[in-house]
Symmetry: C2
Subunit: 413 residues, 2 copies
């Protein structure tokens, strides 16, 4: 890892200097457990965010997006168990009340708190409990609170996902840390995922917007669990410059190193989200080469990664390359069978328009691995893209057909 210029370290959002966090239980989740997370920067911080492209944006997304026009924030509050989405005027008020409660308890200026909510759609927040929870979370803020915070943003994730790294910039040790949650409704354009990224580097907000946009495009926007897109996906990033009290202007090389580290962080968290997708037993990496351009390559990679038939086949350990070919042809991109090549793992199964003899036994071993790579060459040009998805299992269906809690009258809550 050091050969890459950065080093993985333990921890998450509290790894960078000047960040505190906490995770508390305020009673949103009926089954109990941590359900409210707070991340706080002791110093003013530049801040930006990337949000769902779903037209049905949740009130927290609308509020946070507007606040980030200012490019600064001191705190992020996230609740899990309830998405506060499709909740009308009351939902808008509740998101504002969450932000106000954070600002009030932390004694920070109005407009400096960001909000995210994840969980079930179409239920009003128990806002009194949430506000009490925010006060408790402020009391609990501490430099080792990152893992509690990470647990508190989980919904159907089976384990907390956090990651941190350090590197040397301007003679100082700079750190970047993050937490993220999945794990259904994951789709290109960030479906049902929340991530908070922190750093003690001094970054201008314009640079940070550019970097975060690219890092998200190449990670969270290239994964899918079920092809469904959420109403509340959010990635926040805060940079408080704590290691450079007098400010610091990075060299181009240093900027490149930090951006590379950021991409490593989001890329690894994206893989973790797919691996922990609902019912997932396998990671499928789809690589498309030879497309007319990168945009066409992304469309083809997504078509393969979102094919139910392909995902079922890999669940069953079937080398169903015909389903891959059919998915390629359905992407709405000019392709031709005559120029197509398909490989599963190292085994080429179709090449230049003709089937390739393969050893079924050997291919069987490949498709039963925990991670399978599908490589497609369209033979059209030099565009390429990758996309990561998981298999589709009966457990996914059972899980998503069985959430009987949806039965509750949402108006009563």
């Amino acid at each position: 890892m050091q050969a890459m210029g950065f080093e993985r370290i333990l921890g998450g959002v509290c790894a960078p200097e000047g960040f505190l966090a906490s995770g508390v239980s305020c009673g949103i989740k009926e089954e109990g457990g941590l359900d409210l997370a707070l991340v706080y920067s002791e110093k003013p911080a530049a801040a930006t965010g990337v949000f769902t492209t779903n037209s049905m944006k949740s009130p927290a997304v609308v509020l946070s997006r507007e606040r980030l026009l200012g490019g600064a924030a001191r705190a992020v509050v996230v609740n899990s168990g309830n998405a506060n989405s499709m909740t009308g005027a009351r939902g808008v008020d509740d998101a504002a009340a969450m932000a106000a409660a954070v600002e009030d308890a932390l004694e920070i200026p109005a407009g400096q708190a960001l909000v995210a909510s994840t969980g079930r759609i179409g239920e009003y927040l128990p806002i009194k409990r949430v506000v009490s929870g925010i006060r408790a979370a402020v009391e609990d803020l501490n430099p080792g609170g990152n893992t509690d915070a990470t647990k508190a943003i989980m919904t159907t994730d089976t384990y907390p996902k956090e990651l941190a790294a350090k590197m040397e910039i301007g003679g100082k040790v700079v750190r970047v840390g993050a937490m993220a949650k999945g794990s259904g409704m994951i789709h290109p354009n960030l479906a049902t995922m929340i991530s908070v990224i922190t750093t003690d580097l001094d970054i201008g907000v314009d640079t940070m917007r550019d970097w975060l946009g690219k890092a998200v495009e190449w990670s969270f926007n290239r994964i899918s669990v079920d092809g469904d897109m959420s109403t509340c996906d959010t990635v926040f990033m805060m940079a408080n410059g704590a290691v450079f009290p007098g400010g610091y202007k990075m060299t181009e090389e240093e900027a490149g190193l930090f951006f590379k580290t950021l991409c490593w962080l989001t890329g690894n968290l994206a893989v973790a989200l797919v691996k922990d997708g609902e019912g997932a037993t396998k990671l499928l990496r789809v690589v498309v080469n030879g497309a007319g351009d990168d945009t066409e390559a992304v469309l083809v990679a997504r078509a393969i990664g979102n094919s139910s038939l392909v995902k079922c086949a890999f669940h069953g350990g079937l080398p169903a390359w015909g389903r891959i070919a059919a998915a390629v042809g359905s992407a709405g991109v000019p392709v031709s069978a005559e120029k197509l090549s398909v490989a599963i793992g190292e085994s080429e199964v179709f090449s230049g328009g003709e089937m390739v003899e393969f050893d079924p036994g050997e291919l069987g071993l490949v498709v039963n691995r925990d991670e399978v790579e599908i490589t497609v060459d369209l033979g059209q040009g030099s565009g390429s893209a990758y996309f990561m998805t998981c298999d589709l299992s009966p457990e996914y269906v059972e899980f998503n057909a069985g959430d009987k809690s949806l039965w509750r009258d949402p108006v009563e809550r």
Copy 2:
């Protein structure tokens, strides 16, 4: 039904005068059973077809599409159990050999036989057995062969689907009949479906192309089982004018009646395909109103109908309207929660941006019906569309994860 101007009758592709059919077993399906169907018009017939939009078109699709530029055909041969798709140069030869065998055995001019194949992708046809089967099918042609033909085009369908109707045009009884098969990889744009429609009306091929295009757009193109698009979907239509030996020019009213009957036929077959979708236990009818225009309405209806989460929810009998709203927002069409209304069956659950109190017990009865209607109003304009899909069940996944026959070395066959 008579009030509609036409009447359902027993039968299928042989209901119209001058059509014979047969279905034989030629040994493509390892499990045995009928796997080769032939439909033959005793007289020259106008013919047209609609095909998959998948770029990976099967050789049979390419061949038939080219032949139909001429607007005439005497026979359709369809094999099941093997799609002859992604089979390279040999697949092209095999499709041509099938057509030639039909023309040879029937002693009809070259270019007058149409071909379709459905089944597994990426396996060479056992062409000698297929050609023998074609000869046997020609021998077996008879005016009661429609049901054998319908059975012979089935792959994973659980029952044969055929339908016929009669009406009075020009003082004569005119008939139209059809057969169709599903039942996985069904998606907008005709995935893995084959249908053959026959009539003894005298129709010009230009009119027939227009009618069939519209009838397919409003039926087979508005259904989905799993969102996957096949490489070989085909709808053929033949009109032999047998009841009007001297030709006949329909009145506008008569033309309207026939077109309505054709739409009734394709619409009902489309519903049958969805109901018999792999693992399907429920039919979901999605109706979108109030869209900016009809095109936007179709996009929204498809987004709902293709949402794995929505389909899982209905499988489990959950009134998960939040998932419907999220799917609406992901359609890439301008919508706003403030103007959205959603109803499940007769129960409105969301209206004008706010949740509506509903009786969970009553709604529970609705969502557990065999057929559930989801109605969405976008409040944007007057565009509307409908879409039909089925629920997503663990059985679908098990079925598509378990086709161990895919293991066979395709080159050996």
